[in-house]
Symmetry: C2
DNA sequence: GCTAAGCTTTTCGATATGCGGAACGGGTTG
DNA sequence: CAACCCGTTCCGCATATCGAAAAGCTTAGC
């Protein structure tokens, strides 16, 4: 999944270091030998790299097993709170989840993908395998569409170019034309809708959140099962609630 | 063993890569030139490293400024949810915060330090500069003392050796004897107390959380201002509530 | 209580590879 | 227009990284 380019200017050593990190991410825990075999490098190489990572506090050793340390949690939490807007979004997400009894989230764009920054679940919310920090396809989520609708065309083109429009269900938007039509609809409506574009049986509405310069920062969204997400509730009440929250958040951000 | 020998078998290139990562952590955002100057390396070197980090998705570029990406959030969240016990602790922390109206947290030990894994604040909770992911001195926190009390002496010695017993206020435990006395008291009491050992004006109680083999996993704690943390509430009610939660959590973990 | 097998750790020399410095291109400011 | 910032590229050299093999450790099996 390393869709990196030729890496003409890449530092190979750093690449192997992060190969190890990402293996530990995937495997949860692994022995030195396992890691060496996995990447086809000598055990001594892995050993040296693990020693370095341990010294720096990114990896901890438990017997003969290695795992990632909680330093990543520390740094990760930092990236989540650095932008004041992200912090302000948190209570809004909780509020939406409580009011609607569904799952609400605040999502931002990074590298052409959607990233879950905050998430809260009402009592009846569905449990999916989404989690804070998760990266998701931007064109197949309500929040993602809301963000795209606020971007200029060049940026959208860039995203399409980098990631394409992969299909997840028969409802996924997979063509450039369909996407642009949808984005136009979002701009008219003021909010976005995702009808099972990513996961079958899941509908969502999303609203962009912009700063005082009208630059999009992220988006709020609410998602739930199709059987509850329909009728007047889905068409009117929910969007109104969502847009209200997005608006309040924008005011908080702008002061 | 060789923990005090930094760099002996270290990979220098990886070190400079993480130097850059940690500079971005500290500076929030920086230009290529700034980073080069900061570490006394050539701009070309920094450029190559940044290119590698961007390729891998750990750094994003905004104009001529670089910052850490939300990939760290993704990995960090993973390290936080990998252990089932950590996940089970979350609702208990919230519950404690709501019941006591103070700040509650779940903390684990890593590399001889205390790390905040979950945190929740009641309506009247004090706001301090603690946050999820934060690393704190283990001997100067209630949860840390609770964890130390459950460790065997060799492990405790190891922790003291690595980090010492630095002082933060006039109440901090700073001698080996005082620490061992305190740990003994914790074992008798069944819970730990931290009276302004880290921050003046802040008291806390902590209770260890163990798995079915009686191995300590982490600790729950409740903290608040000295004016509320006193009398019968602090001496009896609060510890009872805390130990109850810790007990329930242990049962959940063991099934 | 011994050997064997699994693993990590260390050593060491060859060579690939990261490094620095200088030159380049492209904006922005005076 | 020139000076100055930024990032980017090129290239030769020294060195830090690599792999293979052998040396240490534990644990397991008999």
């Amino acid at each position: 999944m390393n869709s990196a380019q030729p890496g003409r200017h890449a530092v190979k050593t750093t690449d192997t270091a992060f190969d190890i990190v990402e293996s530990l991410w995937e495997l949860e825990t692994a022995s030195l030998g396992t890691l060496a075999e996995r990447h086809g490098v000598a055990k001594s190489t892995v050993h040296r790299h693990l020693a370095t990572l341990i010294n720096r506090g990114y990896v901890v050793r438990e017997g003969d097993e290695y795992r990632l340390s909680l330093k990543f949690l520390d740094i990760g939490q930092f990236t989540r709170t650095r932008e004041e807007a992200y912090v302000l979004a948190k209570p809004k997400v909780r509020e939406l989840a409580e009011k609607t009894d569904e799952r609400a989230q605040f999502i931002v764009e990074e590298n052409g993908r959607a990233v879950y920054v905050h998430m809260a679940a009402g009592d009846h919310a569905v449990t999916t395998n989404t989690y804070v920090g998760k990266h998701a396809p931007i064109h197949a989520s309500a929040a993602g569409l809301a963000i795209l609708a606020k971007m200029d065309e060049a940026t959208v083109e860039n995203v399409i170019e980098r990631h394409g429009l992969p299909s997840y269900t028969e409802y996924t938007i997979t063509t450039r034309d369909a996407l642009y039509d949808e984005l136009e609809a979002v701009r008219e409506r003021g909010y976005s809708v995702n009808d099972q574009g990513h996961i079958r049986g899941l509908r969502a509405v999303g609203a962009p959140v912009c700063d005082r310069n009208d630059e999009v920062i992220g988006a709020l969204s609410i998602s739930g099962p199709t059987n509850r997400m329909q009728g007047e509730w889905f068409d009117d009440k929910l969007p109104a609630l969502l847009c209200g929250s997005a608006n309040e958040l924008e005011l908080n951000i702008a002061f």
